[in-house]
Symmetry: C2
Subunit: 696 residues, 2 copies
């Protein structure tokens, strides 16, 4: 490394690069295409650009990071960072200058350009029967004739009016009971969990009550806050999984646990802290934002600044507190499940891969450290087997393949891909390590689905010219768009497009290697790496002032991911004795945005009628939401988790061979009758010379 | 106050006095008759005399206490008191010298002369059906054919071998599960609570398992650690209730809660901390004590000091850890119950006296802060009504008056006295504030039942000479006894004797006033207080080098207590329409030591056949133990708590008059046919002149 440069890595995006020394972290973030919030234009007054510097040697990146590798602490920073956080390595991005290698963690709240998640969580058919219900009741005051205690008085009332009997009460709710009864003049609203336990008593009458369904992915976490009375999704929130710094995939995190004392605890605490931040965000969103208004002072004509609430028309502001979250459901894969709950995850990674538990768990919020109503219960969905965990159970109870005669293949795309195949007679499942490439992470210009991300792409086969659509703006704004809407990178749905487009246009061949027959200057050799790359967007179209490209290494990452999925699908079909599937459902954070045709062209799964391919969005999240709103779905979840046969793909015969063949586009040997009319025959039926294939 | 003197108050004994400045706290404790441990003879090397100085103004005592009212910190103290405890006000009694008023708390472990509790907890008839049971099971390792998860594998085994189904598991036990299964080579011992929840999994086979039954009195706390397999009481431990510093009786503590922010939390934390100390003590007692042995070094003939275990013959050492305590039952009166659980106790003190709850509660140990097995459940016995709480339910399930045809009167003597009257047709209960006098507290020379306490007393009616028995030594040792066995004060059972003896011997009259006809120099006027007093033990018989006396104020305290009890009994008999009781049972910490005849003479309750008076010891503690060892007793407890009719004595007609009449010995008007042959007629039938009675 040159002496005047230093390596800076930003987490959780993973963007890295060498930057000149003595620039601020904010400046470094711009060079590397990372968005850090800065409302004041780096005047050191808004405190929005707080970041944390990790301390220690990071083998994964081969760098020694230290808060000492930054310029001295400035007094402006103390306004926003207290002594304790300063010790933990927090700095203001606009103050701290790079003097050596640093690994910078950008907390969710300091990230500009929030992720765009399909907000209006899909309309799925859910019956209304939440585990938590509220009951309003009016009681008589104690008298010498009836001096019964508060709890028994309440129980008598609930039995009389609602036929609720044999109720328990959590000690925390019991502590609040005498005050609530007297404050409400013996009229209270009672929250009852599973018709067995009182978890909250509030004075007076309250009708709305709330819960949150959380889907913890290896890379991203999504939360759906619901009004449990109306079933309405009040808010959708999401964030990167803070465990990403310990490794991208589940195996890396299990290894971290096995090699680091307290590693499990540390990872668990990180995700719990993350969930608390996420939930706070959802709760804050139920309050109207505040804005500054200038007013004239009537006395002396001077100007006064006041904060007033800014109400959005037609929006209901519930003005909730954390205590108002009374139920939570969580779905995640087995490794994330075990790490979250501090259950030893090592055995799930060792043959014969037994998890610590399959069944669902009800865990008191305070036992897990979730800062919601302390008496609330967290329902953690059950695990299937191996790495196929509660998130897949979520997909199953949302999609209900066990209710159809059609053979469905459900592909849940995430850092860990999960597959289900079957119908009402039989269901099998498996998992494959796809890595985070299909989610837009770990590619040179990969990013989350946020403003500035390419989400659709089209390459002209004649000219190899590129047309694309960026999240947050109309196509015609390509050059004149405001800075924050300009192109920055490519997100998941764009990545699914790009392989198909490059292949159909002939930019790359069946094996994923750049072909010799290029029709534009977009395909070029990168002078630094000496590797070929293809320019998706020129520097002047971007906000990062650099060409957004996809290179050979990126293509290989995508091929590895899709190859693993395809091989998995094929081995499962073999197990079921099927040579054709009736329906393919694509789930995953971007599931709703998938271009079905391009997914088939890139060879994400075996041939299928295009009309029978469906994007089903975040089905795992939908399942968590179903379990939150309908407690019979919880029973269904436990049933289905024990009635899916799990296939361990890696021990299947010729797995390696299948995987290798599936790396090609769409596949080395398999036929795709449904692509005959879409893909030009010279492309679809091209042969790859052995020599070429092994070259890269 | 003189400038060269300062007020020192020792807690929890409540002993107080003015002492010369510049003496050490140990020296002050001797002057005031308080026992502080000091193994090294104040050489500042044993660290046994650690005490804590309370900080702040104590209205109850009208003193301003502060750690600054002591001499400077000495370097020897740092060996035994860490920085954190130093901040909390801890000092070594042999180092710190008095320079101003101080309120000194002597922790249990620093108190010399441990309380003597009837160790061999009474043999009561208990069926063996503990709530926690252990099961040993051998499982098959997971294989590709059976890759079932750890928890489900365990459940399958428990269902197969023990027909246990639908088991839950606590998250903490689940965390330990994978390690225990593999450490034990798939052979484990499982603890199951109430046949519903797994609370512990240990590798290998363990047969014995343990629980503790705790009786929390207003003044004293007793714990019975039991082997849940054999039902044997492994150890009995006791201590003063650390809440005593907030007030002697329940009303004082409720007032403290109502007048002090965070007062409830503080009192709750104090008792929890106390319970943790008590449980630690019980656990430590299962390890053999260590002793120093000198050995010759074979190499160079020098002497080596080694620690070896000193085994007591015939004793089993279970060598337990805190984690081995897997079940706890707790009984206490309603006020102690509410304060322990941080439930607002104010309404139980206001008409119509409703408690926050009646029913029993199962509370997770970690939710209460008890440092035992964190997955264990604490069973808190149910409350009856008003101040008659779970401790009285304990008495009921131990004595089972609801199973007899006899009318029984059960008197539970404590700081709060509780009364039950009835048979299998009907039971009524009530409570009365007796104060701590009958337990030996708050009298000039009152003390706990520890070595040095007068437990039996006899006064010669002819000479007024005194003969007494002291706990821990034979009578003939009165003068030549070793220092630590010499007389120090008088405990509960001695106090019950003293009123009867003084009365029968004619030292005091029916109204409790010293009579004019004294036969010895033991009755005298105290020169400081100018009040009459009677010398029970001369200074040369004591270890405190002062005469142990009982004065007029002490006598009044005892009369108030016994008067409240007697009036209560009588009002209850009136309610039941009874003019005579078949059986009287006296319960309380010293219940087994009660001299039945003298209890009748002093007028603790209405006339009864002496043979039908029984001392039943700590029946409340026995009930807690029954609930620990037999879970059906828990159901019985809930049943009986709702089927006893509670009488609020203070609102009964002519309560004041009854109370006033019952203050006399044995009673102002009632006849005592069963005393005719025991008490000389001129004593029994004496008339007290109005003029005399109002004089004091």
């Amino acid at each position: 490394m040159q002496d005047d440069k230093a390596t800076v890595i930003f987490q959780p995006s993973g963007r890295r690069g060498e930057v000149p020394k003595d620039i601020t972290l904010i400046e470094a973030s711009r060079l590397l295409g990372v968005d850090i919030e800065s409302l004041c234009g780096e005047k050191k007054v808004c405190g929005k650009c707080i970041v944390r510097i990790e301390d220690g040697f990071y083998a994964k990146y081969n760098i020694e990071s230290s808060p000492n590798h930054l310029s001295e602490w400035q007094e402006e920073e103390a306004k926003f960072i207290n002594a304790e956080n300063r010790k933990k390595g927090y700095r203001l991005g606009c103050c701290a200058k790079v003097e050596g290698d640093v690994l910078v963690f950008v907390p969710e709240e300091s990230r500009a350009g929030k992720q765009v998640v399909s907000k209006a969580a899909r309309d799925i058919n859910i019956f209304h029967d939440p585990a938590v219900c509220v009951y309003y009741i009016e009681l008589k005051k104690p008298s010498f004739d009836e001096p019964t205690g508060d709890f028994e008085r309440l129980c008598e009332g609930l039995a009389r009016e609602y036929s609720l009997t044999n109720l328990r009460i959590d000690i925390q709710a019991l502590r609040a009971l005498p005050g609530a009864l007297r404050d409400g003049d013996w009229k209270v609203t009672v929250s009852v969990w599973n018709q067995t336990e009182i978890i909250r008593v509030r004075p007076g009458k309250t009708e709305d009550y709330f819960g949150i369904a959380i889907d913890i992915g290896t890379t991203t976490v999504a939360g759906y806050m619901c009004n449990l009375r109306t079933m309405e999704v009040v808010d959708t929130v999401s964030m990167m999984n803070p465990q990403c710094k310990y490794g991208e995939d589940v195996m890396a995190r299990i290894t971290y646990h096995m090699t680091t004392p307290d590693g499990l605890k540390r990872m668990s605490e990180d995700i719990i802290e993350g969930l608390n931040t996420l939930i706070s965000k959802a709760v804050e969103a139920t309050h109207p934002p505040k804005k500054k208004v200038k007013k004239k002072n009537n006395d002396d004509d001077s100007e006064l600044t006041e904060w007033t609430e800014k109400h959005e028309e037609g929006k209901t502001y519930y003005r909730l507190s954390l205590d108002d979250i009374e139920d939570v459901t969580i779905g995640c894969n087995t490794a994330m499940h075990h790490i979250l709950l501090q259950l030893d995850p090592q055995f799930v990674s060792l043959a014969p891969f037994p998890p610590v538990n399959h069944c669902s768990l009800d865990i008191r919020a305070r036992d897990l450290g979730l800062q919601i109503n302390p008496s609330a219960n967290i329902f953690v969905l059950p695990n299937e087997a191996g790495f196929v965990g509660a998130d897949n159970v979520g997909v199953l109870i949302a999609e209900e393949p066990y209710k159809t005669t059609d053979y469905q293949l459900i592909i849940d795309i995430g850092t860990n891909g999960e597959l289900v195949l079957g119908n009402r007679d039989k269901l099998i499942s498996s998992s494959c390590a796809t890595g985070p490439a299909l989610e837009g992470a770990q590619l040179s210009f990969g990013m989350r689905a946020a403003p500035g991300a390419i989400e659709r792409i089209k390459i002209d086969p004649e000219t190899h010219e590129v047309d694309y659509k960026v999240i947050g703006r109309e196509a015609w704004l390509k050059f004149s768009a405001p800075e924050e809407m300009k192109t920055k990178g490519i997100c998941g749905s764009g990545i699914l497009d790009v392989l198909a487009e490059l292949y159909v246009a002939g930019v790359i061949d069946k094996s994923g290697v750049f072909s010799e027959n290029q029709k534009s200057n977009r395909c070029r050799i990168n002078p630094d790496s000496n590797q070929p790359e293809f320019v998706l967007a020129w520097a002047n179209e971007t906000s990062i002032k650099r060409d957004v490209v996809i290179n050979q290494k990126d293509l290989r990452q995508i091929q590895l991911a899709k190859g693993a999925l395809y091989a998995g699908c094929k081995l499962m079909m073999r197990r079921m004795g099927l040579d054709k599937i009736d329906k393919v459902k694509i789930a995953g954070a971007f599931g709703t945005h998938v271009n079905k045709q391009k997914a088939l062209i890139m060879g994400l799964f075996p041939d299928c009628e295009v009309e029978k391919i469906l994007g089903v969005g975040n089905a795992a999240g939908d399942g968590c939401r179903a379990a939150l709103l309908d407690r019979r779905k919880r029973i269904e979840a436990n049933w289905v988790s024990r009635n899916v046969e799990y296939i361990e793909l890696t021990v299947e015969e010729d797995f390696e061979k299948q995987f290798m063949q599936a790396m090609q586009i769409p596949h080395m040997k398999d036929e795709f009758p449904h692509l005959e009319e879409i893909v030009p025959p010279e492309i679809l039926h091209q042969k790859v010379k052995k020599k070429r294939r092994t070259k890269n």
